[in-house]
Amino acid sequence: MAEDVKAPAPPPPEGEKKMVAEARPAAAAKVAARAKDEVPVPVPWTSPLVEKYRNQYGSGLEALIYLGQNYFIVDRSLIPDILRLLRDEEQFDYCVDITAVHYPKRERQFDVLWNLYSYARNQRVRVKTQIADGDSIPSSVSIWPTANWLEREVYDMFGIRFDGHPDLKRILLPDGWKGHPLRKDYGILQQDKEWVQINLGIESGQ
Amino acid sequence: MNPGLHQALIAVDTTSIGPGMAPVATPFFFYLLSGLAIAGGFLVSTRRNPVHCALALIVTLIAVANLYLMLYAPFVAAVQIMVYAGGIMVLFLFVIMLVSIERASRDRRFNRFWPVGLATACGLMALFVSAFVKGRALFPDRMIAIPEGSNTQQVASMLYGEAGRMGQYTFAFEIASLLLLVAILGAVIMTKKKI
C-alpha cells in the first residue's frame, strides 16, 4: 500500500508513523478507484529516477505503475548495468526475489523479474526483461549474493541460464532430472519417470 | 614350566594368605596370563590392521598387569592399567583412527631391516633364558617375600624417600619428569603456530 506513493518518495526520516500516515490516503484512493469499478491498467511511471535512466538509456527502458507497484521493463542488454546502478546509486540494496514467467506463445518466451527493495527509501521496484528460450542472462550474484539460490531456482524451474553464476545447478530437483517443471509445456502430472526408476527403484515411475 | 617356580608361587600364596583356603588355581592363572600376554604380543607384530594390533597390545598390557597383581605389586598393576591401557592406548587408538586404514594395511608389513630386528629379538631371548638359568642361583626359590607395609608405601619411599632421607630413585625420578616436561613443551611448540 505504501508503494502507492509516487516514487521517489523522500526517505522517511525516522518513522514508521509517517509511513502509516501515507498509507491511509493511498488506501482511500484505492477505494475511490474501486468505486468507479474500472479495470486497472498500467500507467506510465514518472519520477526523477525514471527520467534519469530514460535519459541515459533511451528507449531500452519502460517504466510503468500497475496497482500502485512500480516496474521497469528493460531490454536484456541493459540488465547488468541497470541492476548495478539501482543498487549502487538508488540504494536498492535488497534483492527480494528473482523469478521468471513463461509465455510459450510469445517469441521471447520468458519474463525474468528482479524484485528489489530499498531499505533507505522503503520502496519496491520490479525490473523485468524478456528473453527467448535458450538465451542466457547475466548473473546478478556479484550484485546481490542472495541471487545465488534464487537464480539456481529459476534455472531449475525454467532452464534459463545465468552467465557468470558461480555454481549454476539444480536446487530443488535432483541433479539428473530432465525437464523444467514451471514451463507451461511441462504437464502437472509429468515427471522424469526414467530418473525415478533408476534412482528410486520404483518400476511404475510413480 | 619349572617345578621350582610352581613351588614358589604356591608357597607365596599360602604364606601370605594365612589360614584360609589355599588358592590351588594360581599356577593355572599364571600360565593363562602369560599365554595371553605372549599371544597378544605375537598378534601385535603380525596383524595388519593397526586397530587390531592396538587391541592385542591392550590384552598384553592387561595380562601383564594381572601378573603384577599375582606378584603382590598391586600398585604397579593399577598404574599399568591406568596409564598404559587406559591412557596411552586410548591416545594410540585416537591417532590410529585418524590414519587411513586402507593405506596402512596395504603397506608392507615388515621393512627390509627385519633380519636385524629378528636378530635383536633372538639376542634378547638368549639373554632372558641365560638370566633365568643362571638366576636360579642368584634368586633362590623362596626369595619372593612379602615386604612390610603396603606396596604403595614401598614405591613411594623408593621414589621420594623416607622422612629426612632421599629415596633411592628420587633423582632419577625428577630427571624423568623434567624430560617429560620438555617433551610436552616440544609437542606444544610443534603444533602451535604462535603461542
Binding site: 500500500m1 505504501a2 508503494e3 526517505p11 525516522e14 514508521e16 509511513m19 502509516v20 498509507a23 488506501a27 484505492k30 477505494v31 478507484a33 474501486r34 479495470v39 486497472p40 498500467p42 500497475y66 496497482l67 507497484q69 549502487d88 540504494q91 540494496d93 535488497y94 527480494v96 526475489d97 523469478t99 514467467v101 523479474l113 524484485n115 531499505y119 533507505a120 522503503n122 519496491r124 520490479r126 550474484v141 556479484s142 546481490w144 549474493p145 542472495t146 545465488n148 539460490w149 534464487l150 531456482e153 524451474m157 558461480p166 555454481d167 536446487i171 530443488l172 530437483l173 535432483p174 517443471p181 514451471l182 507451461k184 511441462y186 502437472i188 | 587411513s100 610443534m190 603444533t191 603456530k193
Partner: protein
C-alpha cells in the same frame, strides 16, 4: 563483524548500500583459505537428510577439518511438491489451502499473505473486522511458530525441557484455532476477501485468557535459558552475521533484526490492521545466536501486545468483502509480502484474466535465510552448525515448497 552490525543500527540504516559485492561459489570447491601447519585430511560429512537436528529433510554437506567447519553446502528439495506448479492448475480459491502446507507451523501467515495478494489483484479490501481477526490469528500463529522454534532450538543445543514447556503453551493457541476454524495446524483460516468464519462466542475471552496464561510462561522459558551459563556459551558469538551481510544475502525477519537492522514489514509497509496498533520492533546488536534468541523472545511479548490491543478494540461489522463467486482478476501482476514469523513472505501473482493464476511465485523467507547458513558457520564447530540451523528457523516445507 559485530562492529559492522553496530554501525548498522537504525541511525545508519541508510548507509547499508555501500557494501562490497559478495560472490558465493559452492563452498565445497573453494580452496582452504589457510593451509594448516600440520598436514591433515579434510573430512566431508553428510548431515541429513535424516538427521535429528536438521528440522526435517535438510541435507547439509559439511567440509570439516577435525570438527572445524571449512564450508557447507545445503542440498534441499527433498520436500519439493511443486506448489507453484499446482497453483497454475487450480483456481484462486482452490489454491488457498495449499499455501498452508508451505510453512506449516505458521499456516495462518501464509494464508494471510496469499489472500491479501489476491485481494490486491482484485482491487478489493477486506473489511476492518476481518482485518482485526486476521491480525489476532496471525499474531497468535507467530507466537506458536516462535514457541515451536524455541523448543526445537533448545533441544538442538541439548536442553530437552523447554521443548515440552513450549508445546504445552502452543497447545492453547492451537485450541483457539481449532475452535475458530476446526483445524489446528493447516488452518485455512482466511478466504479471499476476508474471513469465512465469524468469531465464535467467547473468542475474545479465550484470547484474553490465553494472554494472561502465556505471559508468565514466556518468563519461564527465559528463566530456563536466558542467563544459563551453558546456553550463553553455546549461543553468544556463535553464527555472527552483520546487518550488512544480512541485507546483501536478503535475510529478513528476526535474523535481520538481531543484526541491528530495525526493519519489520508490519511497520515499514503495514498491511491488514497493523498500522492501528502500537508495538515495538526488537533489535539485537551482535547478530549472534543469542541475540536472535532474545529478539524472538521479545517478539513474542510484542505479539501479545498486538493481540491485546486488537482484541480490545475489535470493531463490529461484516467479515467478508464483496468478492465475486468466481474470482477472475483482471490481467496483470502483483507482488505482496507480509512479515511472516520467519521473515518476508512474498507472493508474486500473474493473472491472465482467467479463473486460474497464470503464475504464482512464492518468495519464501526460510529459503532465502537458509542461504546465509554458510556465511554464518564457517570456522565454527559441528555443534555450532546445529545451533545455527536452529537459529535461522527454517521450515523445510517452505524451503522446498
Amino acid at each position: 563483524m559485530s562492529a559492522a552490525a553496530k554501525d548498522d543500527t537504525k541511525e545508519n540504516a541508510n548507509d547499508i548500500s555501500g557494501h562490497a559485492p559478495h560472490a558465493i561459489a559452492s563452498p565445497l570447491h573453494l580452496q582452504t583459505p589457510e593451509k594448516p601447519y600440520l598436514d591433515s585430511n579434510e573430512l566431508i560429512i553428510n548431515m541429513g537428510p535424516q538427521h535429528p537436528a536438521t528440522h526435517g529433510v535438510l541435507r547439509v554437506i559439511l567440509r570439516l577439518d577435525g570438527e572445524k567447519v571449512l564450508g557447507t553446502e545445503c542440498v534441499i528439495g527433498y520436500l519439493h511438491r511443486g506448489v507453484e506448479k499446482i497453483a497454475e492448475n487450480r483456481t484462486y480459491a482452490m489454491f488457498n489451502p495449499y499455501v498452508d502446507r508451505m510453512d506449516y507451523v505458521a499456516a495462518v501467515s501464509n494464508g494471510l499473505g496469499y489472500c491479501e495478494a489476491v485481494e490486491k489483484l482484485l482491487n478489493v479490501e477486506a473489511p476492518p473486522r476481518a482485518d482485526y481477526i486476521r491480525v489476532i490469528l496471525t499474531e497468535l500463529n507467530r507466537m506458536a511458530s516462535h514457541q515451536l522454534w524455541l523448543g526445537t532450538h533448545a533441544l538442538d543445543i541439548g536442553a530437552m525441557t523447554p521443548l515440552f514447556y513450549t508445546f504445552r503453551d502452543r497447545e492453547e493457541i492451537l485450541k483457539i484455532f481449532e475452535k475458530y476454524c476446526g483445524a489446528r495446524l493447516t488452518t485455512h483460516a482466511f478466504r479471499i476477501g476476508g474471513c469465512l468464519y465469524e468469531t465464535y462466542a467467547g473468542f475474545e475471552k479465550d484470547v484474553q485468557n490465553f494472554l494472561t496464561f502465556v505471559a508468565p510462561k514466556i518468563d519461564e522459558y527465559e528463566e530456563l535459558l536466558t542467563t544459563n551459563r551453558i546456553w550463553l556459551e553455546r549461543t553468544k558469538n556463535v553464527g555472527v552475521i552483520s546487518g550488512e551481510d544480512c541485507v546483501a544475502l536478503g535475510v529478513t525477519g528476526p535474523v535481520l533484526r538481531a543484526s541491528g537492522v530495525k526493519w519489520d514489514l508490519r511497520k515499514a509497509q503495514p498491511y491488514a490492521a497493523y498500522s492501528k496498533f502500537d508495538f515495538e520492533i526488537p533489535t539485537g546488536e551482535n547478530g549472534d545466536t543469542y541475540d536472535r534468541y532474545l529478539v524472538r523472545m521479545e517478539e513474542m511479548r510484542q505479539s501479545l501486545r498486538i493481540i491485546e490491543q486488537a482484541v480490545n478494540s475489535i470493531p463490529e461489522g461484516p467479515i467478508m468483502a464483496k468478492v465475486p463467486k468466481v474470482i477472475k482478476p483482471p490481467v496483470g501482476e502483483i507482488y505482496h509480502s507480509i512479515e511472516a514469523p520467519k521473515g518476508e513472505l512474498g507472493y508474486f501473482i500473474v493473472s491472465d484474466g482467467s479463473t486460474q493464476p497464470y503464475r504464482v511465485r512464492v518468495r519464501p523467507p526460510s529459503f532465502v535465510n537458509l542461504q546465509a547458513l554458510d556465511r554464518m558457520v564457517r570456522g565454527l564447530l559441528v555443534a555450532d552448525v546445529i545451533a545455527v540451523i536452529g537459529t535461522i528457523d527454517i521450515v523445510l516445507g517452505e524451503v522446498d515448497r
